[in-house]
């Protein structure tokens, strides 16, 4: 019985906080737009009994999903989000790997402090941190002022409201999610493996490529998922730092919801986004499992 209770807790959690909300959203995605409170129809009225429920079901349809296929906006937005998420993930690896490497190779007594420094930004609100980038990147911002004062540029660079600003914002925000798993992988790496590689004829550089990189692969993969998955649906960063040409599915979803007030289509967009996300999430799970098996 106790065993059952223990298992039931996480499942109840999943059911209450994931499955039930998803079913609600899914149900809305099958509804029709209406000018009412709430702005869709039909609404489930349990007082009408079984007949009412059947009537309710009969009014649901997949019209909104068909609509998504009829306008190229949606698949272009999904694609563009995937592209931005993929590029951001690669950039995050490029920036995060050397940091994680440096941390893992730092003297042991420093590592706790370095880890703390990586996590420290989380103590400040995410919004405030993204806002501060607006102050840094704007045309009259600190970056341009600095570059102009040292004479690198004569005209201010236009960074804010472009995709570059979005990449900067995403890389900045999600960097810890990349650093931490890579650091965990690199820290586990036995120094004697590198010595063994050198002993067997590797230069420092080739030992890095042949030993360090393959052995931190799991960390890089884990970090990539942790960055890619939330970035795909990211809304705040592109809407604050991006320009009108930054097309991401999060913004499309916002517009469906707020500008069109079309909750059913917005829900359909969300359901499709979730389905797209489930693929990398399953891959991520598989990867984790493989790693656990490998570690025996």
């Amino acid at each position: 019985m106790r065993r059952f209770t223990l298992i039931a807790i996480p499942y109840a959690w999943l059911l209450a906080l994931f499955l039930v909300p998803f079913l609600i959203v899914f149900k809305i995605s099958l509804s029709d737009l209406a000018m009412a409170i709430p702005p869709y129809t039909p609404n489930l009225d349990l007082s009408t009994g079984w007949a009412g429920f059947k009537d309710f079901l009969s009014q649901l349809d997949f019209e909104n999903f068909i609509w998504l296929t009829q306008d190229d906006l949606y698949w272009k937005a999904y694609l563009s989000s995937a592209k931005i998420a993929a590029i951001s993930t690669i950039l995050t690896i490029i920036v995060g790997f050397p940091i994680a490497y440096g941390m893992a190779r730092a003297p042991e007594e420093w590592r706790a402090t370095l880890l703390m420094l990586v996590i420290l930004p989380f103590w400040t609100s995410f919004l405030i941190r993204v806002y501060s980038w607006m102050g840094i990147l704007s045309q009259e911002g600190y970056l341009n002022q600095f570059l102009m004062s040292i004479g690198v540029i004569s005209e201010p660079l236009i960074i804010l409201n472009t995709n570059i600003a979005v990449y900067i914002g995403i890389v900045y925000t999600y960097l810890p999610f990349m650093i931490l798993p890579i650091y965990a992988a690199l820290e586990k790496l036995d120094e004697s493996l590198l010595e063994a590689a050198e002993d067997l004829g590797c230069s420092r550089m080739s030992a890095f490529w042949l030993i360090t990189v393959p052995l931190s692969k799991q960390g890089v993969i884990a970090g990539s998922f942790l960055v890619f998955i939330p970035t795909l649906g990211e809304f705040v960063i592109p809407s604050l730092l991006g320009g009108s040409k930054t097309l991401m599915i999060g913004k499309v979803l916002w517009e469906e919801f707020f500008s069109n007030r079309d909750w059913p289509v917005a829900s359909a967009v969300a359901v499709v986004l979730l389905l797209i996300l489930i693929i990398p999430i399953i891959l991520f799970q598989r990867n984790e499992q493989k790693q656990r098996e490998a570690e025996g």
Partner: protein
């Protein structure tokens, strides 16, 4: 949309708390009141006032349609008000509790009746025009001394926009205000709901959108004031606030606002009480407090928007009542137009078009 996010987060927390009898919750536009008035209300009535802000009608409407917003007083604009009334989002005002109703200005009430017949659900808070704000020096530098700053030609003619792109142009992120302006520019009926007519506006906007740095509904205030941007299609009072901020900062930026000569959109922000307001009685007290001539004058003097309160006019400062950008003369007033909400199907086409204009897709 930035402030929206902050308010969204704040209001999630807010909704979690139950409203007690001694509280009234007001949801108004950002930068839209003299905050001394809020203290004054609390002192006069003993009711605790919780004041939240938004910067987009869309956000407000979504909350209204979702229901149970927890707010007692909200401030939608005319077309949004109309749609929300038809969705059953508001309760009829109880005139018995509104002793100051007589202060309201018939000229405005006649026009707001288009959205709220008999003004049964709402009172006018502020009204204004949608027009063009310019950084005089920078625009003249780009286009010469005779830059058409009073004409929509400035922002809808690609030749002008190309030259202005480098100094920064912002448009309101509001399709239902920009499209009527383009239609006015083209000499069409601004309030047209005919999708073929609206498509003409799309062509014009597609031509100038590459030169628009950002479509946003509040960033232009700071942008203009700091000199980050040189032109904005925005709301009269916001641009005037930018003008005053720049003057205060003494940063050499000189901002001017003009309602376009081709005609300008006249809009109304209306205070209304949600049908599920937790404290409707306190909400009426707040509305009555706002309709007090002295209070309304204080608000207008602070935010540089015209109000719908005739009794307040003697108490308005000269740079408010005397500024034709705020209180247009009779001739200009004739030239202003109003719009009505798009039906859902048209709304979807407009939004899609708007996305396409903004993102190129």
């Amino acid at each position: 949309m930035n402030k929206t996010l902050v308010t969204l987060t704040a209001s999630v927390a807010l909704c979690a708390m139950a409203a007690s009898a001694e509280e009234v919750r007001v949801y108004n536009w950002s930068d839209y009141i003299d905050e001394d008035l809020l203290t004054k209300f609390e002192e006069e009535t003993g009711i605790k006032l919780i004041y939240d802000v938004f910067d987009s009608n869309d956000v407000l409407e979504t909350k209204m349609l979702a229901g149970n917003s927890g707010y007692d007083v909200v401030v939608p604009s005319g077309t949004f008000l109309q749609r929300q009334i038809s969705a059953g989002a508001f309760q009829k005002l109880d005139e018995a509790q509104l002793s100051n109703k007589g202060n309201m200005w018939g000229v405005i009430e006649d026009r707001t009746a288009k959205y709220d017949p008999d003004n049964a659900y709402s009172i006018n808070y502020m009204w204004g025009t949608t027009g063009i704000g310019v950084n005089l020096a920078k625009v003249q530098e780009a286009l010469g001394e005779d830059a058409p700053i009073t004409s929509l030609d400035l922002v809808f003619n690609p030749e002008n926009m190309e030259k202005l792109a480098d100094c920064g142009v912002h448009f309101l992120d509001a399709a239902d205000e920009i499209i009527p302006a383009v239609l006015a520019y083209l000499g069409e009926e601004p309030d047209s709901h005919d999708t073929d007519v609206i498509a003409k506006a799309e062509a014009v906007l597609a031509g100038v959108s590459p030169y628009v740095q950002k479509f946003h509904s509040s960033e232009y205030i700071n942008g203009l004031a700091n000199g980050d941007i040189c032109v904005a299609i925005g709301w009269s009072g916001d641009i005037l606030q930018a003008r005053d901020r720049a003057a205060e900062a003494e940063n050499g930026v000189e901002i001017a606002y003009n309602a376009p000569s081709e005609g300008a959109l006249m809009w109304f922000d209306q205070m209304a009480i949600p049908v599920d307001a937790p404290n409707a009685e306190a909400a009426h007290k707040f509305l009555n407090f706002i309709m007090d001539a002295e209070n309304m004058a204080a608000a207008s003097n602070y935010v540089y928007y015209a109000n719908g309160n005739e009794a307040s006019q003697p108490m308005l400062e000269e740079d408010v009542i005397g500024d034709p950008a705020i209180y247009p003369d009779a001739a200009t007033l004739e030239n202003l137009y109003t719009t009505s909400p798009y039906p859902p199907k048209t709304q979807r086409i407009v939004t899609r078009m708007w996305t396409k204009i903004k993102s190129g897709i």
